[in-house]
Amino acid sequence: MKKISYGQVIFLLFICRVFRTLTFNPFRDTNSGVLMWSILISTVLQMIILLPLFYIYNKHPGKSVDELAFGISKPVGYIITAVYALYFILLAGRAIKYFTYFMTDMFPSIKNYYFIAITIVIVAGYGAFVGVEALGRSSIFISFIFIAMIIVMIITAQGKMEKINLDIAVQNPADDIFSCVLKELGMNSELTTFALLLPYIKSDIKKAGFILLGMKLVVLEVIVFIYTTLLGDYIKLARIPLFVVGSYSKTKFIERFDALYMLEWTLCAALTVGLFIFLASKGIKRMIVRVKDTYIVLGVALVCLGVNFLLSLSHKPFDMMLDKWFTSILMIVLACILPSLILLVLKAMKTKAE
């Protein structure tokens, strides 16, 4: 089994989170003050959520959560594996949907929705086929492009950044922050990948987790700060804020940066979908051992494509519910509660046997 370093884990999961930021406007129903606090609180919660996985990594080295579940019993193992696989298929389908929405909505000349979806699935499927090591290596490169992109945006922005544009007056801070933290947790659903990535990580998972959370915290807070100080309340109208900030840039040597940013968006999408397809395929492989890896990856990629088309038919209220409750709660369950339960059951079984 090819393993990845903790640095690659950091950048791989960082890109998954960045991709969500690139395709979402968090300002539609909240303000910058609430959002900044929510990011901070959600980071602390994510740290707590990851603790059982760190424990599993130390106590059961080389084992993923679903492999541990097979230690309870075979049926439990199958169920847990299927749950994770389905969750990653759902995440991949959603990611494809966000990407196709971004491409067709932001670039009116790109009209063929199916073409975009199929193309990204082919690329991501290939990424999943070559494995997590290749995805990990690419993520470092893509992360650096992203950081460079943010720096260029700040330097070349035409507007004036004003701190008084930060809207930090909130009528009901507790309610607003609770709701926003919940949504924010759902946007960090890549943390669940740790559950299945554990055997692939060479060393120092704690360091990887903490650096990842720290990096996400800093980058997300900086992005929110730039969004609001630069654009003020105009940001609430933007469908994809980073795209608006990007189009605010202007230099003498290049008129508009949008096309360059599109490249980064595409790379992030391919990597994110690729990782989810890879993990879902690994889960399914565990259940149907006899089928070749290639066919499993192909099958999972096709299912993800189908899920994307199904999700595309859904209405906005369903999307919002999915974002706010479904993915948030599933993230907490799959990254924290389920691994903790498996550990408790295994411990109880061990005590009983002794």
Binding site: M106, K111, T119, L166, A169, Y234, L237, S247
Partner: protein, 382 residues
């Protein structure tokens, strides 16, 4: 066999997927550089200056050429569609840097007027918005003897006017953000066409010159909107006051009278710091203005020693700035109760609880708001 299939797949992908499917060729795209909007017979009339290889020469000799095209419709969308039908090209607003709103559009809801532009992700958020005295079409199609005035020249004129304090910058992102605040207020510069006499060469071979009237753009007023509607315009002095109180003056030029001698003042650097504090139910905004200025003129005519002269000029500058600021405060806060001074943003940032408690009666907050201005001036005398 596998290898052959793989190679065929790769090549077919290269051919099928790397092309520009669904794109618009450059000759089928109308690249807009200036847009003007007028209201005529309750219809929107949109004028656009569009790059066109066979169009009229722009004012810079040897440069690009452009056409002015108009379209009419019951919405901006339909007016632009008419332009597309007339030209047979797809309108592209991604390079548009200037939007003129005609005098007839003044009574329209500014938010509705700008909606079309905020909906499109291609539109530059830094697009400059300017109101015109007269028809916007006249500005879009404004000509010099050498050709149509380009958007770049107009942008340069606006930039210089902003620098000299004659105009306040109003970019799309800023205006749209402004009208999302409690009072839906914003301020937009007003431009005029004025004719000036200019010496021009009769022909390129001779040095003979003749005087000819040339049209130029001039900015001196600022339109104020409240509840998305135009309510009044600020004159040049009030515009300058508005700029001082919103930290928009970076440099400026003015003249003062010192004992009957005109003295030119060039402000090279300026910064306004604003901090609101609450006293009872009153808002006092501590305003510190720091400037570095240079005074020039026939100063030897003023019979004062250097330090006396410096302090005299400094006081004159300070009085001028304070008078501009007070004038602006009086008209905006006391008479029209319109917040284009970013008071809401200041309160929202620095006085959160007061802001949340009092935002339902915001006009009263404005009535009870005053500025406590102190000015620090570093002066160099030439």
């Amino acid at each position: 066999m596998k290898k052959i299939i793989s190679v065929l797949v790769v090549f077919s992908m290269l051919i099928c997927m790397s092309g520009c499917s669904g794109t618009t060729d450059i000759e089928k795209r109308a690249i807009v550089q200036i847009v003007g909007i007028d209201i005529e017979n309750k219809q929107y009339k949109v004028s656009m200056q569009i790059f066109a290889p066979d169009g009229e020469m722009l004012e810079k000799k040897g440069g690009a050429k452009a056409d002015v095209v108009t379209g009419t419709g019951n919405s901006i969308y339909f007016a632009i569609k008419e332009i597309e039908m007339k030209t047979g090209k797809e309108v592209f607003l991604g390079h548009n840097m200037l939007l003129f709103l005609g005098e007839s559009a003044r009574n329209e809801n500014i938010n509705d007027l700008l909606e079309y532009f905020t909906q499109s992700e291609y539109v530059f958020p830094g697009l400059d918005i300017v109101m015109t005295n007269g028809k916007a079409y006249d500005f879009v199609s404004l000509k010099l003897s050498t050709g149509l005035i380009s958007s770049q020249t107009m942008e340069d004129i606006l930039k210089v006017s902003i620098q000299n304090g004659n105009a306040k910058r109003a970019q799309l992102a800023q205006v749209v953000a402004d009208v999302r605040q409690i009072q839906k207020t914003t301020a937009i510069p007003i431009v005029d066409i004025t004719e000036i006499a200019q010496d021009v060469q009769v022909n390129s071979d001779s040095e003979d010159k003749k005087t000819q009237d040339t049209k130029v753009l001039s900015f001196s007023k600022t339109a104020v909107f409240k509840d998305n509607r135009y309510i009044m315009s600020l004159d040049k002095e009030q515009t300058m006051g508005l700029k001082w109180l919103t930290n928009e003056v970076k440099n400026a030029f003015s003249s003062i009278d010192v004992n009957g001698v005109p003295v030119g003042i060039s402000i090279d650097k300026a910064k306004t710091t604003l901090r609101p504090h609450i006293t009872g139910d009153k808002v006092v905004i501590d305003t510190q203005i720091k400037i570095s200025a240079t005074a020039s003129g026939n100063l030897s005519l003023i019979s004062k020693n250097n330090s006396e002269l410096e302090s005299l000029i400094k006081n004159k500058i300070k009085n001028q700035i304070i008078s501009q600021c007070e004038n602006t405060q009086n008209i905006l806060l006391k008479k029209y109760k319109a917040d284009v001074l970013d008071i809401e943003k200041l309160l929202r940032y620095y006085q959160r609880s007061f802001y949340l408690e009092s935002r339902d009666d915001y006009e009263r907050v404005l009535e009870n708001t005053s500025y406590d201005i102190s000015i620090k001036c570093d002066l160099e005398i030439h």
